[in-house]
């Protein structure tokens, strides 16, 4: 297992954009699933105490 000392900071900020583009589908799916689950939990919770 490599340690943190095995990596060198290159300050290549374009990495963030590259990875955001590469995994845009998974990011979108995460927010979609989380949004749907939040909405479902909100609806269920409003019904629960009544």
């Amino acid at each position: 297992m490599p340690g943190t000392a095995d990596f060198v900071q290159s300050f290549r900020l374009a990495n963030y954009l590259d990875y955001a583009r590469e995994y845009a589908t998974q990011f979108g799916r995460s927010f979609l699933y989380a949004g749907l689950a939040t909405f479902a939990a909100l609806v269920i919770s409003f019904r629960w105490p009544t």
Binding site: F27, F31, A34, S45
Partner: protein, 178 residues
Amino acid sequence: MVAPFFCSFILRTLAWKQILADDGYVVSALKFVHVLAPDQSLLASSFAVVAGITYNFLPFMTLPLYSSLERIDPRLLEAGYDLYGGPFTVLRKITFPLSMPGVVAGTLLTFIPAAGDYVNATLLGRQPATQMVGNVIQARFFDLVDYPAAATLSFILMAAILALVLAYVRRAGTEELV
């Protein structure tokens, strides 16, 4: 409602795997009434993942909302009904606006951990089409030992959630929560 949550997160998710299994009662009943086709299944689908996330994070929504609803004066609801408001109108005009602090707190407490979750997608999704970004981070970190990529993806996720939360809180008008 809180009782099942004394048990481990993983065990509860595995229980859902049994509930939604192809030879389980739920799928058999849905196939019997022709809601599901004979070759269809609930596991390894977006539905299973969203159902698992909803169940696992439900108390984070219910508890703040309950404490908010409990503080509403029942006389306000009675006044709404006296003014010929139906149950839906009373909910929309009185109950929901008065419970907004609980709604905002609950949605934040549910959405933030749900967006980074990977256990439900791993156990209930089990296919690339239901993979969330948490699965990618987990694979990069533990399977590929690619720490820089995992750190980059984690930072992007954190920044995106922060931006969404700030926009939501500004719109909901309860800046005191941040």
